[in-house]
């Protein structure tokens, strides 16, 4: 469990779980959570490549992950508020029932 390959496999597994969730769930909040999971898998890739890469002293992977986590947090806040606004309008978070453009 301590080689780059294993971490890459783990992160692709996490990505696939997030993708399956984002594709199959009906609740909009859970779809957003699936997207967050895919972002997390990408972050794990960054850290693993930084750790096993040729220049771990450069801190580039850590910086990339920190900025990526900040963007993911902003995205989660804006996405959840959009879901709240849509819920107030449509009275549901079910994606199959939000099927009209003009409400």
């Amino acid at each position: 469990m301590n080689s780059l390959q294993n971490y890459l496999l783990l992160s692709s597994l996490l990505f696939s779980i997030g993708l399956a969730g984002a594709l199959t769930r009906r609740n909009a909040i859970l779809v957003l959570i699936g997207i967050e999971l895919m972002l997390n898998a990408a972050n794990l890739n960054f850290i693993a490549f930084w750790r096993y890469g040729p220049a771990p002293a450069a801190l580039t992977g850590i910086m990339f992950t920190i900025f990526s986590i900040s963007i993911a947090a902003a995205e989660a806040a804006v996405g959840l508020s959009i879901i709240l606004a849509a819920y107030r309008h449509c009275r549901t978070t079910d994606l199959d029932q939000m099927n009209s453009l003009k409400g």
């Binding site: 859970l30 902003a74 806040a77």
Partner: protein, 166 residues
Amino acid sequence: MILAVLAVAGTAAAMGLRNAVHCVLALTLGFAGIAMLYLQLGAQFVGFTQILVYVGAVAILAVFAIMMTHNDQSVAPPTSSFPWLLGVVIASAVFAVLARAIISSAAPAQGQPPQPAVPQPGVTVLQIGDALMHHFVLPLEIMGLLLTAALIGAVVIAMDRREEGE
């Protein structure tokens, strides 16, 4: 290995459970597992940031959103117009492609022995702050601007506008 199982089990439960609140609780477990993996990889700061941001903030935010939008349909069976099985098949295919690429391409990378895990002394917060303030200062400023804009935007979008209109 245990951490990997914890992370995968938590996230898989988060995507598979029926009750949305249970999903978020399992997701917290999965995020904590990923944070432990960061710690195992020697990125302490990122691990604790992960705990603060995801386990602390994003999970709480999701719980609040689920509670505010709660109705009886939230425990309805998660079958959608997009077939359940098709989504799983697509995700499995993506995983198969990725895994095959990783396994087939990692052979030359193993030829040069990577730096073993020991000589890495662990990155201190001092180094990270130094890099943030010198080399990465422009991205840091842009990130601050983005977070401010996201904060204001989230408040404006989620604001209840019915009182203003009437």
